[in-house]
């Protein structure tokens, strides 16, 4: 498959009809969360789209993100989009290993300098370069080197986007995100642990279709997927409004499908497309399965005070702190009380009885007047 071939040509070569192409475009629009009315424009753009080269780097990660993406049965639309790109380096998926693999990367970089998309999953350890290396190259060096020639970077998964689990307190490896290191390239953060597969492909489809990166939110995430709050789009929201909450995972409330806020649902502070895109081929999403949202697409989700602790509860143990403060307050209070009581005792001791002879002050002007 040549890089010069357009997507349309690639599809035609595979015997896909125009109807099939339209079906592809309709689904792609849906994936990109664009309105169906955009389908003709998408079709027009895709007809002339060229296959971009993609280099995929994996650092401190668990391969869950790649799993999420590739577990989709082929040829799904996600699969088709992957067919439409040229994945030139992905050390988990590629057949080549060792020096051959690294050569493939260097070659792809050279060939497509300034044009390729760099996909990164996993965080980068700054604590000690030896914590994570590929072919003896530290993650930091490889990222910096590969990023130089990239047209854009897609950070996939919460580790790459925000540091994720490796960065969780106490962050033993000194893990940081891609955007902590690379400052001079457009970076699209596709967060989630793992991200929703169609969101990953949606971003690639966007790049493929329009040659640009989608509009991003303040955390660098595509607004079309991360613009909506889980809580706002949650079908259990009416229970929240009515104050109907499941208190445990097996109480009546839980059986009736009441709101999971008190069971630690982080929906209110989580932005992701789970409520609409759903998981497992659109079957459901965690809340629908009776478990609160973990907030996995948000920074620091691992340190939010516990998955089963309500969002409005303190992320730390306040009761203990309050007890110490109470003691300290009592000690300080007794201290000031002792000082106050001494002051009062002193003024009482020094009290000179007021008689009618000392109701007037010694006013110099009056004395003078009396004298004269």
């Amino acid at each position: 498959m040549s890089h010069d071939e357009t997507l349309k040509e690639s599809l035609t070569r595979n015997g896909v009809s125009r109807r099939g192409f339209l079906k592809f475009c309709a689904t792609a629009a849906s994936i990109m969360a664009l309105p169906p009315s955009m389908v003709p424009a998408i079709a027009a753009a895709l007809e002339s789209a060229r296959r971009p080269s993609v280099i995929w780097l994996s650092f401190q990660e668990c391969t869950g993100c790649a799993e999420s993406l590739t577990r989709s049965h082929s040829p799904t639309v996600e699969g088709l989009i992957f067919d439409a790109i040229s994945l030139d380096y992905q050390h988990t998926l590629q057949a080549a290993a060792g020096d051959a693999a690294e050569e493939a990367r260097e070659e792809a970089m050279k060939e497509n300098w300034g044009k390729y998309i760099l996909v990164v999953d996993g965080s980068i350890p700054l604590g000690n370069p030896g914590y994570s290396t590929i072919a003896g190259i530290s993650n930091l060096d490889m990222l910096k080197e590969t990023a130089k020639g990239a047209a854009a970077i897609v950070a996939v998964g919460t580790c790459a986007t925000f540091g994720g689990i490796p960065k969780a307190n106490p962050n033993p490896t000194g893990a940081v995100s891609v955007s902590d290191i690379i400052k001079d390239k457009p970076i699209v953060n596709v967060s989630g642990c793992p991200p929703i597969p169609v969101v990953i492909t949606g971003v690639l489809a966007h790049f493929l279709t329009f040659g640009t990166i989608p509009e991003l939110d303040e955390l660098g995430r595509p607004k079309v997927f991360y613009g909506n709050n889980i809580h706002d789009r949650c079908y259990r929201r009416p229970f929240y409004e009515r104050g109907e909450f499941a208190e445990t995972f097996d109480d009546e409330g839980a059986k009736k499908g009441w709101c999971l806020f008190k069971l630690g649902c982080k929906g209110p502070i989580t932005y992701n497309a789970c409520a609409t895109a759903k998981w497992n081929e659109g079957t459901s999403f965690p809340i629908e399965s009776g478990h609160g949202c973990l907030g996995c697409s948000e920074p620091n989700f691992w340190d939010m005070g516990g998955f089963y602790k309500a969002l409005s509860q303190p992320a730390v143990d306040v009761s203990q702190t309050a007890a110490y403060a109470l003691g300290a307050g009592a000690v300080a209070g007794l201290g000031i009380a002792a000082l106050n009581r001494k002051k009062k005792a002193d003024v009482a001791t020094d009290h000179q009885t007021v008689t009618i002879h000392d109701l007037r002050r010694n006013d110099p002007s009056k004395t003078e007047a009396e004298d004269s």
């Binding site: 009062k344 003024v347 009482a348 009290h351 008689t355 002879h357 000392d358 109701l359 007037r360 002050r361």
Partner: protein
């Protein structure tokens, strides 16, 4: 010889600040409701007369002396010290425009006893030499002569002679073992001798033993008004000594508001001991006699009348029902004025204001409140139970050209006394 000084004033305030004061200052939110309750504010519209503002120097002192943050600020030189000029300026707020009437303490939503704090503020003011000349003079006369108005024993004796002649009854003086020790206010001796006549006849009818005391006939207490516990204790001490010497069961406070507060409520605390005798206001005694059937009246008062509640009796003293029970006996045309009872408006002369010439102008202005209350009633007579209120009502009504007579309740009851001769003969 010692003399007043800012330092003594501040020391006195430091002594006065206690847990309630600290709680009150900590709770005030500057909501301004006390201003709406104070007749000096409502009748003048002057915001500086807002009750809580009258104790502002004491608040600052509390903060600087008795709070951790305030002490820290003071140590760092960040707080504004109390100065002579300031307290001089505060004289008119603390004395001229406060009758210690207690309405502010009733309405304060956080429950601050603002009146009580102004009373405490006066301790500092008097010890510091910031009391008004009028009250200093009254205190001097009270201590030296025995009466703030300078009334001496011979004057009382002259009145006794008159009363004995009018009533045909002997007025006991210095009688040991009498049930009641009757105290008088100078105003009653000078302006309202009818009171003495009235109680002579009432006690005679009730068959109660009573006495006056030549060493302590004065009930009023300038020390309370000027706000000096030391002077107040000296004056109360005379009454206590008399009561103990004559071994009376009960000391009766006359128709006077602050005298009642001074002897009944502050008295034991001023002399630091519990009394071995009871203290009652004359209205309490009369109501007891009524309940026991020892006070019999005949005829009714035809006039439409109302009762002016003296502040120190209702709000600061808890005597509310007694005058109404007594009026029920003889006054079918009795009407309550608006806000009567514990929320009644002050006449404007209490708390030493009447003894303070500096306050004359504002006192007359404050009387407007009473004037409006009375105007709305269309009454023939005002009855009260405090000689100080009575004088203020008379003055105020005269200035406003309103012709309504003012009567003391005791004397009005005496006018309707049913002289039960046969019973009297049987007992005698």
């Amino acid at each position: 010889m010692s003399e007043a000084s800012l330092e003594r004033g501040i020391a006195a305030l430091k002594e006065q600040i206690d847990a309630p004061v600290a709680a009150f200052f900590s709770s005030c939110t500057h909501c301004g409701m006390c201003a709406d309750a104070c007749l000096f504010h409502t009748e003048t519209g002057c915001p500086t007369y807002t009750p809580i503002y009258k104790v502002e120097p004491m608040r600052r002192l509390w903060e600087q002396e008795y709070t951790l943050l305030g002490r820290a600020k003071k140590a760092l030189g960040l707080s504004k010290p109390i100065t002579e000029e300031e307290l001089e300026k505060w004289q008119s707020k603390v004395y001229n425009t406060c009758t210690l009437c207690g309405r502010c303490s009733m309405v304060c939503p956080v429950g601050n006893d603002i009146t009580g704090m102004i009373r405490k503020m006066r301790e500092g003011m008097s010890a510091g030499g910031f009391a008004p000349e009028g009250l200093i003079g009254a205190s001097e006369r009270a201590v030296e002569i025995g009466s703030p108005m300078g009334v001496r024993l011979p004057a009382l004796k002259a009145q006794i002679k008159h009363a004995e002649k009018d009533t045909g009854l002997a007025i006991p003086m210095d009688v040991e073992g009498a049930e009641y020790l009757v105290l008088l206010s100078s105003m009653e001796i000078m302006n309202y001798p009818e009171y003495l006549h009235a109680i002579t006849r009432i006690f005679h009818q009730a068959g109660k033993t009573w006495t006056l005391c030549s060493e302590a006939f004065e009930a009023t207490n300038s020390g309370i008004q000027i706000g000096s516990s030391d002077i107040a204790a000296e004056l109360v001490g005379r009454v206590v000594a008399a009561a103990e010497k004559l071994k009376v069961k009960t000391v009766i406070s006359p128709e006077c508001g602050h005298a009642y507060t001074a002897i009944r409520w502050e008295g034991p605390n001023l002399v630091h001991k519990e009394f071995g005798f009871k203290v009652q206001h004359i209205l309490e005694v009369l109501d007891e006699l009524r309940a026991e059937g020892l006070l019999k009246t005949e005829g009714i008062e035809e006039a439409k009348l109302t009762f002016h509640d003296p502040c120190q009796l209702v709000r600061r003293g808890g005597v509310v029902e007694q005058p109404r029970n007594l009026l029920d006996m003889i006054a079918p045309n009795f009407v309550e004025m608006e806000d009567s009872g514990v929320m009644n408006w002050c006449c404007g002369a209490g708390g030493g204001v009447s003894a303070n010439e500096d306050a004359d102008k504002v006192r007359n202005k404050a009387f407007n409140r009473k004037k409006k209350q009375l105007e709305s009633l269309d009454i023939d007579v005002v009855v009260t139970a405090c000689a100080n209120c009575r004088i203020q009502l008379e003055d105020g009504l005269e200035i406003n050209e309103m012709d309504i007579p003012i009567l003391g309740l005791t004397e009005m009851l005496a006018e309707h006394l049913k002289e039960d001769k046969p019973v009297e003969e049987e007992t005698s």
